[in-house]
Amino acid sequence: MRSAIVDRALDAASLVNEVARQSNGATVLFVGTVRDVNEGRPVQGMEYKAYRAMAERELADIVREAAIQFGTDDIVVEHRVGTLALGEASVVIAVAHPHRGRAYDASRYVIEQLKQRVPIWKLEHYADGTREWVGAAGQSVSEQPS
């Protein structure tokens, strides 16, 4: 099992290979990508920032929890930070397990917990030139493009 916050493009295929093992019958891969629309607003790109030391720690905790809860050590997660273009992967989660039900459940657990707990933020770049921190609704700080 392994988790990391990285500054480079993610390679889903290499994570799938990393969890492969002949005792596993099922591999579930989740890839989160930058969408061209969010809540109806056209998006041009995304900037991910992390509280890195804590994000790495939380992500490692989540993977450890999933390993215990679902019974497999074959879990690898990478989350990318920095500026991403549309369609680029921001997060990749690969899980392999002897049985498919637990592979799906472990994958789902990791992404749901990640979205709740891991201190990562994204600044959406909209097509109209404005930028906004996602999820900061109400207290959000809109920025003009620099």
Binding site: K49, H79, K115, P119, I120, K122, V134
Partner: protein
């Protein structure tokens, strides 16, 4: 004691800083750091009770601090 306060994303924008060094009386808690920060210019855009982490772990407002702790105010996360 001295603690480092980290600010991120919309909170960093609101206060115009990503890190502050703050002096506190002995016995101060995570909640005292929040009160201190909320008195700074621009902090009216922060919620009344933001999430806090002490030394990279989520912590309650009641958590006592020690010298050189790293206290982070955590805006709503949006990873994935």
């Amino acid at each position: 004691m001295t603690v480092t306060v980290l600010l991120f994303a919309s909170y960093a924008d609101a206060l115009g800083a990503s890190s502050l060094t703050v002096e506190l009386a002995a016995g101060a808690t995570a909640g005292d750091v929040v009160q201190h920060v909320r008195a700074l210019p621009g902090a009216d855009r922060l919620p009344p009770a933001p999430l806090v982490a002490v030394n990279q772990r989520y912590a309650p407002a009641t958590q006592p601090l020690t010298d050189n702790d790293e206290v982070a105010l955590i805006p709503p996360v949006a990873g994935g």
